[in-house]
């Protein structure tokens, strides 16, 4: 069973790697584009990293309404509940 706090910890860890160059502070409410300067491709790359870390299939469609790490975690958990039952 995948826990939300585990997911968000890993998202933040990935984001620190992806934004290492600009050294901006990364938190659950950071805006991925405006605060962290991520381009859309980087956000899709982040999703690939999550798929590999948790051995899941996650379509990029879940990114439509995502603008923060917390929203990404919520979208991921919601997708898993929809496709695999409660997690």
């Amino acid at each position: 069973m995948l826990k939300r706090d585990v997911v968000i910890d890993y998202i933040l860890e990935c984001l620190r790697g992806l934004t290492a160059e600009n050294q901006r502070p990364v938190g659950p409410q950071s805006n991925l584009i405006e605060d962290l300067g991520l381009e859309s491709i980087k956000i899709m790359d982040l999703l690939m990293m999550l798929e590999d870390q948790f051995d899941l299939s996650i379509p990029i469609n879940i990114l439509i309404d995502v603008s923060t790490p917390a929203e990404l975690a919520d979208a991921l958990m919601s997708h898993l509940e929809g496709h695999h039952g409660a997690v």
Binding site: E51, I58, P59
Partner: protein, 399 residues
């Protein structure tokens, strides 16, 4: 909130491009003299960023055919094929494309972008899963979004990564669409199609290959990467464009299964778009015959590609991983890329500047595209222009 307020960041970037001199994303080629020569203002430039791979934009037969069609059939069709009807030339071109590829069905579209949008969006419905190479063209992403399919990306040209992601899908992999390109437009590298076909044979799925940059360029008769690697029968649909090797405008899909014809009734971008103009269709039909009759054009293209690739590599530039008619030269930062691109024009060479995210992996690159129409002297002149700039700008370190 103003209508364009959401674009303020983009507007600032655009302003910066415009105030700093020539705008790499709004260049006007003021005069075109041939497939390889033009003028930007008063600066004569060798055109090395045009995708005019076989150099057929000034082919005499194609021009004569287009002129005749213009005179006989008029300037445009003024509507869609479903509403206004097809012209005989649309149908004839589709038959000729099907014959050229040895396939059951061909559908012509108004542009290459619309071909991808039309075919993929119709197949990639909300119940479908699409596995696409992460570096696929924007038209493929847009098509999947329009169709509403679930989109899973796999790492660029990494067949093992595709397999991992298909295994995760379980039974759903059997009906998934796998979409890759023949030659990738920015880095000039090719898909590992044999490995992908092997995965498809074991795990299922349907394979679509966009041969926009490889049609006319690869394969014994120019049918593209699938032909070059001997896996055509495993590719369900090949997509392509008329705006590169065929030197016109439009796009196409060819399929192994005659059932593809049903998409004419299901594809919104096919149904609701005006059909290609008679002159465009006529020049494409002529260029297709030329490709069939003159395989030496492909030989000339590759000779030029090797010359330019080796010339730039010998100068110490970091170029793409494989020899290709698309030759990316990696430059440092965005600012260095802008300076380098402008300096190349002053040296008499026009190429494309590609900034991230359009260029993959955060790289800034200048992208050369080679043509069969480039003379040996023009290739030498391009290399000389790069040589003149070699010490003026700090470049990305060699890989």
């Amino acid at each position: 909130m103003g209508l364009y307020d959401g674009f303020s960041r983009l507007a600032d970037e655009r302003e910066a491009f415009q105030t700093a001199g020539l705008n790499p994303f709004g260049t006007c080629i003021d005069r075109i003299h041939s497939a390889t020569e033009g003028y930007i203002g008063e600066q004569r430039v060798i055109l090395a960023g045009t995708n005019n791979y076989l150099g057929l934009t000034f082919n005499a037969d194609a021009i004569a055919a287009a002129q005749a069609a213009l005179a006989e059939q008029g300037t445009g069709t003024t509507g869609s094929r479903m509403a206004n009807g097809s012209y005989g030339a649309h149908v004839a071109l589709e038959q000729e494309l099907a014959e050229f590829f040895g396939r059951a069905s061909a559908i012509v579209f108004s542009t290459g972008y619309v071909a991808n949008l039309g075919i993929i969006s119709a197949l990639a419905n909300p119940k479908a899963v699409v596995l696409l190479d992460a570096d696929c063209h924007a038209s493929i992403y847009d098509a999947c979004a329009l169709g509403g399919a679930q989109i899973i990306r796999f790492r660029h040209n990494d067949a093992l990564d595709l397999e991992r992601r298909m295994l995760r899908l379980g039974e759903r992999a059997k009906d998934a669409l796998i979409i890759v390109e023949g030659i990738y437009s920015m880095l000039g590298d090719v898909a590992p199609l044999q490995e992908i076909v092997d995965i498809k044979r074991r795990l299922g799925g349907y394979l679509l290959v966009d041969e926009a940059h490889s049609f006319g360029v690869l394969g014994e008769t120019g049918r593209g990467l699938a032909q070059a690697l001997g896996v055509e029968s495993d590719v369900d649909i090949i997509l392509g464009t008329f705006s590169k090797s065929l030197a016109s405008i439009g796009g196409f899909a060819v399929g192994n299964d005659r059932s593809m014809e049903v998409l004419r009734y299901a594809s919104r971008p096919y149904i609701f778009t005006a059909s290609p103009s008679p002159s465009a269709i006529a020049s494409v039909r002529s260029a297709l015959r030329t490709i069939g009759q003159h395989p030496e054009l492909r030989d000339q293209l590759w000779q030029n590609a090797y010359r330019l690739y080796n010339g730039l590599a010998l100068l110490g530039y970091r170029v793409g991983s494989h020899v290709s008619p698309v030759i990316p030269v990696m430059i440092g930062t965005k600012e260095q890329g802008m300076l380098f691109w402008r300096a190349l024009i002053e040296e008499g060479v026009y190429v494309n500047l590609v900034l991230p995210p359009a260029a993959p992996s955060g790289i800034t690159l200048v992208r050369c595209s080679v043509s069969a129409a480039h003379s040996e002297q023009e290739i030498v002149a391009i290399v000389r222009a790069f040589a003149a700039l070699r010490d003026r700008i700090t470049l990305e370190p060699m890989a």
